[in-house]
Symmetry: C2
Subunit: 243 residues, 2 copies
């Protein structure tokens, strides 16, 4: 049988977009051409545009029992769903982007003062490893990274931010994958970054992106961390990923 | 005539050092071998060790009318004075230096919160362009810089700090000159950095070090600045120096 599309994968529930007008709605529907599993064995739909979308069965939040059977998945081959990433474009960062980012960064972090941690120099002197994701003309995400001067085969991701309404839309993944691509093209073998042990969302994201955790001196909720890594009271989880 | 040394250039007044014991006092006396002028036509004594020391006539703070005449300067050739820089050694920064710097940085800036502006990554991934100045085993200054990825012939100085008791002892000059040397050796043609228009000491220091000011959109006390350069309300003076 073929399930009615809206009952199972709704474009609107997959992709809430405060910027998009109803006039452009459904313009980015793309057919499912295959399914595959991520490293945690969760199902991903591969779309005709080459982008992918998680189609999790995670009751009671996401009811998609069909994805667990070969027959269920087969029934969805050819079904068009809205592609979050087809709305998004990625480009290198420019110094002018700093002015936008600096005005929204504290809001995107729910009022935390993150401003001082991001000087303009990353948008000026590390443009080739810094990226902006846009939805039409709106900036909805940024990444600032660099190639290590000390370790010629290493690249480092310093700061990543995504507009709260665009999280889980693939924006962060686009930014990381673009960074990996540029790092690989420049002969880098490893990418590093750090996060706070309390940031469970960030830890889970990095694990999904294929990062491993460098063993530290303490365990926080089952995750190995490095005490006082970034100064007193500032423990960190250290990630690395081989390219 | 030959002036009595202590009456004119006192080692103790030139170089207050809270770390040094009386046992080591005068161990670093070096003979004056020549005099020259800086770009602002102030007099500098060149010592036998190769280091230099300003010998300003700036009454009523510094009374050295003798330095203004050729005869007066000639009388001081061969006179030993304490060399502030011979006490100081310079080396590349290491990640472990971050832990010391992060504990003193706010004190060195008289309580201002500068901590967030200096992540550990500069001590890890930019070691070849970051330096530490020590007085014996004590860290008394640091510089974090990098080579621009975007502009292959440019180097950038991000952060420089000197222990308050070691300012005017040549520590900052040592750090900058080491950075220039490494930048030159790596084919860089220009060094850039920024400071706040209210930081008159920093502006004067950069001018003494041969930096020029990039013309901005506003003038603050006769100095050209760039409004909102580092975000809203954060105007900056932009320096550049050709190597």
């Amino acid at each position: 049988m073929r399930y009615p599309r809206q009952a199972t994968i709704s474009a609107s529930s997959l992709c809430y977009n405060p910027f998009r007008s109803t006039a452009t709605k459904n313009l980015m529907e793309r057919k499912i051409i295959a399914f595959r599993q991520d490293p945690r064995r969760e199902w991903i739909a591969v779309l005709e545009c080459g982008h992918t979308q998680h189609v999790r069965h995670n009751p009671p939040y996401q009811e998609r029992a069909w994805v667990l059977t070969a027959e269920g998945r087969q029934n969805f081959i050819g079904v068009p769903i809205e592609c979050g990433e087809c709305h998004l474009t990625i480009r290198h960062a420019e110094p002018r982007d700093f002015y936008f980012v600096t005005t929204v960064i504290n809001d995107w972090w729910e009022g935390r003062n993150m401003r001082d941690m991001l000087p303009k120099l990353f948008f000026t002197h590390f443009r080739d490893t810094s990226f902006i994701v846009q939805e039409q003309s709106n900036i909805v995400g940024f990444l600032n990274g660099f190639f290590s001067q000390t370790f010629p085969d290493e690249a480092y991701i310093h700061f990543v931010g995504v507009h709260p309404a665009f999280r889980k839309h693939g924006a962060a993944r686009m930014l990381y994958e673009k960074f990996f691509e540029v790092a690989r093209a420049n002969g880098k073998k490893i990418v590093r970054c750090v996060t706070s042990p309390v940031n469970k969302t960030s830890i889970a994201f990095h694990q999904r992106m294929g990062f491993e955790i460098e063993a530290g001196d303490v365990e926080v909720d089952g995750i190995s961390a490095h005490t006082n890594y970034d100064g007193k009271g500032e423990s960190r989880v250290l990630f690395f990923k081989s390219l």
